[in-house]
Symmetry: none
Subunit: 403 residues, 2 copies
């Protein structure tokens, strides 16, 4: 089984808009060819297929009408110069699990979402948002780098912009959504585990900090008379790191920094930098933003440095349903594997689907925690284990008892 | 006279590589335009001009051949976002003094050095070193931030790298070098004096530090698993500041810093920065370089970060000739002004020229002791006094009697 899945992943990875590198953009020719290939695999797994109004490929159990449905899936668009597994793995792993499945008391729907990455148009999660009824129709007017609008591209693709609202699922008919995905981080590799259960997709806040001190000659201004913006930034960056380390599952990153004038013999008079804060619990993230901001203000005041802090991005966390996590844990334990819970630092279609139904995610170990590059790598053994866990989960799946 | 000098300083300050701020880099288009402008002023002062092999502009008394020569000058490159007076004042003040000068028993050579600041390439004092025969030809292979080498930039500028050794002056023909410069510090302003005599120029060391950690996704790599090059740099920059504050009269500055990849959602995998260390005593400076380097290695090792530290500049303290200081003192006293002696915290071309001949410097008061920023300011009155002192000095100049 694992050979077939890995072979399919390789075959799918060859479908690209840019020969020599994997770049498969929403509503592109490569997207259409990928749908054609996956349609055959879905039908081989006994599913009935359709391409919906927004360009998602949907594979559904026959005779699903009237039955409650469990959603599986992930996305088949990619970043530019991507790896073979991000998104694609979740779709093909679900098809592999369903192909070997006996009759179930519920229907299954595997969705290959067309736009999670937002690599072509400014928006992300277009496919999954449409399924929840939360697609913003204004996005149809947004344009890609060639000037083509999403609406025109969708029509050319065979989609139907006007019918997008009709594909919104009825929450009463949907049991849950379960997504398999590569971890894109190093935690499972460090723990020597093939799979892990996602507790939440981290919320994220992004801050922009500007420090204004006084530039000056590096040789003539005594240390005690300086208002060095970089030295202030250094003290702040160390605090941000220390704070991030002190809160479990929270990450805080200063990823960009610029100083002015920026010459070896000038005292930096201005520094600007970004802070990216993510946490599985919104309260922890909000507290981090408040605590870090307050401490940065203190450090700046002590150094007689002016400070401006602006929040540039703010997205809440998506909690994975605990009862779904429990059933995934049972499936992992039944494979005689340790159960590991971890947050997701990156965003996923499950964030959007959470508006429709309870969601859960199963992460698969990836080499070096690397993703979004051609170096993205998973093993056939790990892929096999992930499919086996999903298979057990699907066989045992039941809704929680209403309290 | 002073109006002409101040007007010329303003006209020269408008020549920049970055409209809206004064940044005039070695061998840049602005450097070429500045040379063209100053060439006219030198010729107006009766000097014969040439651009030498390293890109210095030289103005020489006619019929100088066979006469002993007194060197005057300073530099016309700037830091980024500079003030109007650093370097430029010394060149234009010398031209102003020479223009009004009757015949002298010696020849005069005014040199507008092209690279004192080291703002473009890693080295400093390229122009003045070439004049002494101490230019390191390996510097021609060093590159600016765009990857252009100094050698290629020099050829494109019209210079001749192969001929640099030929511009070295014969010490037997050179009497002395006298440089006017703004103080760049607060001493003269505090003493309410327009000019002062430099006793010595502090020694300076410059280090280039490269830190290599591991880049990664800001959302998916837990804090404890990171090898964040910027966080390591922040800890080191704080140590450098603390050490600098702990040693009297020593200054230590991190003035430039760059990180890679430099995106808000990426952990910095690489950081490079400069350290500038200056002290009046060479032993204190050497100890600072050793102590700081050792501590940076420790911090990097603790964080599992690779570190490379390169010493890119190393200049011992330079003593100004006492007999030249005496003749400057006589010229100041003749203006009915108190005589003030003070050290220079900043480096100057005179440091390099000291390898060729006795050197002296006359400092002019600058507002707030501020330099290397657009706020750099001097008064027309002070500029006038400095030119008058130089004029008296040139008229009375004589070599000391051989003991």
């Amino acid at each position: 089984m694992q050979h077939s899945l890995m072979n399919r992943l390789a075959e799918l990875a060859a479908i690209t808009d840019t020969p020599g590198a994997l770049t498969r953009l929403f509503l592109s020719p490569a997207h259409k060819r990928a749908i054609e290939l996956i349609t055959g695999w879905m039908q081989d797994a006994g599913l009935e297929t359709e391409i919906d109004a927004i360009g998602n490929l949907v594979g559904r159990s026959p005779n699903a009408a009237g039955k409650p449905r469990l959603l599986l899936g992930s996305h088949i668009d990619t970043v530019r110069d991507a790896g073979a597994y991000d998104g694609n793995f979740g779709v093909l792993a679900a098809i592999t699990a369903v192909k070997s499945m006996e009759a179930l008391p519920y229907a299954i729907e595997i969705i290959a979402f067309g736009d999670e990455e937002g690599s072509r148009f400014p928006q992300t999660l277009s496919g999954s948002r449409a399924v929840t009824g939360n697609f913003d129709m204004n996005a149809l007017s947004s344009a890609d780098s060639t000037g083509a609008t999403m609406g025109d591209a969708l029509r050319a693709f065979g989609g139907d912009p006007d019918s997008i609202p009709k594909i919104a699922r009825n929450p009463a008919e949907i049991l849950a959504y379960v997504e398999l995905h590569i971890e894109q981080g190093p935690v499972l590799e460090a723990k020597n585990l093939p799979v892990g259960i996602v507790t939440a997709i981290n919320g994220a806040s992004r801050l922009a900090v500007t420090l204004t001190g006084a530039a000056g000659h590096a040789g003539t201004v005594p240390m005690a008379m300086r208002r060095d913006a970089l030295a202030a930034a250094a003290e702040q960056i160390l605090f941000i790191e220390t704070y991030g380390k002190s809160i479990p599952n929270l990450v805080a990153t200063v990823g960009s920094l610029a100083i002015h004038p920026g010459a070896p013999n000038s005292i930096p008079g201005r520094a600007t930098y970004s802070i990216d804060i993510r946490a599985p619990e919104d309260s922890a993230r909000r507290e981090a933003v408040a605590t870090i901001s307050a401490r940065l203000e203190e450090i700046a005041a002590t150094r007689n440095i002016e400070i401006a802090i602006t929040q540039t991005h703010n997205a809440p966390a998506t909690t994975c349903a605990s009862w779904l996590q429990d059933q995934l844990a049972d499936a992992i334990a039944a494979q005689n594997l340790p159960v590991c819970h971890l947050p997701s630092g990156a965003g996923h279609d499950a964030m959007a689907i959470a508006a429709l139904c309870p969601v859960a995610m199963l992460f698969t170990r990836c080499k070096g925690g690397i993703s979004h590059t051609p170096a993205e790598s998973i093993t056939a053994e790990d892929a096999n284990i992930a499919v086996a866990v999903l298979t057990r989960f699907l066989r045992s799946f039941k809704m929680p008892e209403t309290p």
